[in-house]
Symmetry: C2
Subunit: 365 residues, 2 copies
């Protein structure tokens, strides 16, 4: 299948897998209804059980105005292995939504379904950009100084220097498109910030990025605590470390939320104190609402692919839609191409990277 | 230099580098004074500038009773490279304290000085246990279900399956000695909890640990969020991932502390709310006090080596002393030997590990 021809066939901003996720299709339709308000000019291809979707749209008139339904008789279960999904999922809502991107009918796809299946199907059907060795999984995470992009989060368990440089270019393009930053700073995650720290892989990648041919604003090495501190706008690392770091940070924040809840219910004065401080605490709660950070993004394919968390609600799904819409409307793919062509012209050769068919090994759910 | 002969020469529980750390020797002496109260039968060899230490002990009678001073004319600066410290630090307080362990005069050493120098000197002078491929750096971190041991935290940037199995055995022995757990649960950090996740390295290590020859209570794979959740008592990983994960978790907790401070000073009602909830919030603050978790422990040498954070105060230094005393008095080294000998008898051969002279690459400060 060829890369989508720009413009020719494209009718839809996004194809939406209506049957993926724990509460599908209701949470998806509610999310679409919220997203429709924010993107009134978008056109969505809604893929799933036609009868249920038609019924569901009746009560969501905003979404109904922007949606065209495409029937899919099947849905991929959350626990199906990617290899099985590839063989047996040809008529699934996820597959048909991905097919729409590959055919150029839609610029991107959003799904709250099976992560491993989505990644495998998207890579095989939509295909990796010719300039990219391996796609990467990215997400947005909160910090003291605003949102931070992290990648890779598990698409590639082992990475070489070349992969890390490509991740930096993709992260830069993503931060421009989705965070709206004109010149995002990029940091390479390491065990120390001095030039000699780490292994050959990170040192070699840093050397290429430092030379500036990639045209990105490279800050240098950053450490684990720099993620929450917001030292840089984009944190680049391999999929193993990134997956562990993202979940470690999320786990620490969740622990604090749980402990605060205990504190404020531990005595009558503490309850009263909570009531007094509540407006300020509410702002804190909103700020760290995991739904605001919903959406793992597979970067480096010939189209936009966003994975919403399977258990999220309408607000979370609408945020994943926002991320996908930002990428579609702000020329994300074009930004990557420009960065990579600069690199190809100027940078010295690095240890090469081969596409790794077994690379889909991590899940976000 | 031979391994210390048990008992023969040993006079001191611990040798203490009195000149290491940002506020040495005062913070060290104050810490010793606190530790002396908790360990009234201990004997400490205090190594440093004799005149200053003698003067300092005059005002700290509890510490003075348990200390013998050994003069060291030099101190290793915080920014000295490990290779330089090896050549030029022969008369430094750190080196002479380490020498005391190697000679069997003390069972362990505590220092708040230069981390890289301490690790390099300790490995070369005290030496790695013959049964161990590579020493590992461990620390204790808070979780929802009590303290959790993590290792490696940066002593080994690249690890193979054999290293990870050894780290599991050392982590088990450490949790028994220091956390007082009779049968600690051990988890191997990965990008997912299913058996097929991750790379060959973690899968092979998990297979050996699952077979049970190491005699430890292996839980299986754990993910980043399991650290703060306290899913297991000991989290095992390579030095790159462990260093990043520990600092990421610390960074997230620090961000929450900073944001809470902002919340409670943002308005007059919020201030009043803070005052009402203060007793409960104080317990939370104590619980996550970084000084309670001070001390990185180099495991796998022929003696106990504990690194206190360079910027800590007396309370933090005393906690590092507590950890070292627990290891000395609860047979930590013997526990490791037993685990490794079980493994040698039963386990199939794994990809071997060679001692790596460049392994000291990460610092904790």
């Amino acid at each position: 299948m060829a890369a989508p021809s720009e413009g020719a066939l494209r009718r839809f901003s996004l194809a939406v897998d209506a049957m993926g996720g724990d509460h599908a299709p209701d949470s998806v339709l509610d999310g679409l209804d919220l997203a429709a308000e924010r993107h009134p000019k978008a056109q969505f291809l809604l893929v799933g059980d036609e009868a249920r979707l038609r019924e569901g749209l009746k009560t969501r008139p905003r979404a109904a105005k922007l949606c065209v339904i495409r029937h899919a008789p099947d849905a991929i279960p959350g626990d199906m292995k990617p290899t099985v999904a590839l063989r047996q999922g040809r008529n699934s809502s996820m597959r048909l939504a991905i097919d729409a991107v590959a055919k150029g009918e839609a610029a991107g796809v959003v799904s709250a379904g099976n992560t491993g299946a989505l990644m495998a199907l998207a890579k095989i059907v939509i295909k990796t950009m010719p300039e990219i060795g391996r796609p990467a999984l990215a997400a947005i995470t909160p910090s003291a100084r605003g949102d931070v992009v992290m990648l890779d989060l598990g698409a590639n368990i082992q990475c070489d220097a070349r992969n890390l440089v490509e991740f930096a270019i993709m992260g830069d393009a993503f931060a421009r498109a989705v965070l709206g930053l004109p010149n995002p700073t990029i940091g390479l995650l390491n065990v120390g910030s001095e030039e000699l720290k780490g292994d050959d892989r990170v040192r070699q990648a840093a050397e290429v990025l430092r030379e500036g041919h990639a045209g990105i604003n490279f800050h240098g090495f950053v450490e684990g605590h720099d993620i929450a501190a917001g030292t840089v706008d984009v944190v680049v690392t391999d999929g193993f470390t990134g997956n562990v770091a993202l979940k470690t940070g999320e786990g620490a924040l969740k622990l604090m939320r749980d402990l605060l809840r205990q504190v404020f219910t531990s005595s009558i004065p503490a309850r009263a104190g909570y009531l007094l401080a509540r407006p300020a605490l509410e702002r804190l709660r909103e700020w760290m609402d995991p739904r605001r950070y919903n959406g793992a993004i597979l970067l480096g394919l010939n189209g936009v692919v966003v994975k919403s968390h399977g258990g999220t609600d309408a607000t979370g799904f609408a945020h994943a839609m926002d991320v996908a819409m930002d990428m579609v409307t702000h020329g994300f793919t074009q930004n990557i191409r420009e960065g990579l062509s600069r690199l190809a012209t100027h940078a010295p050769p690095m240890t090469g990277s081969e596409a790794d068919p077994s690379a889909v090994t991590a899940q976000q759910d």
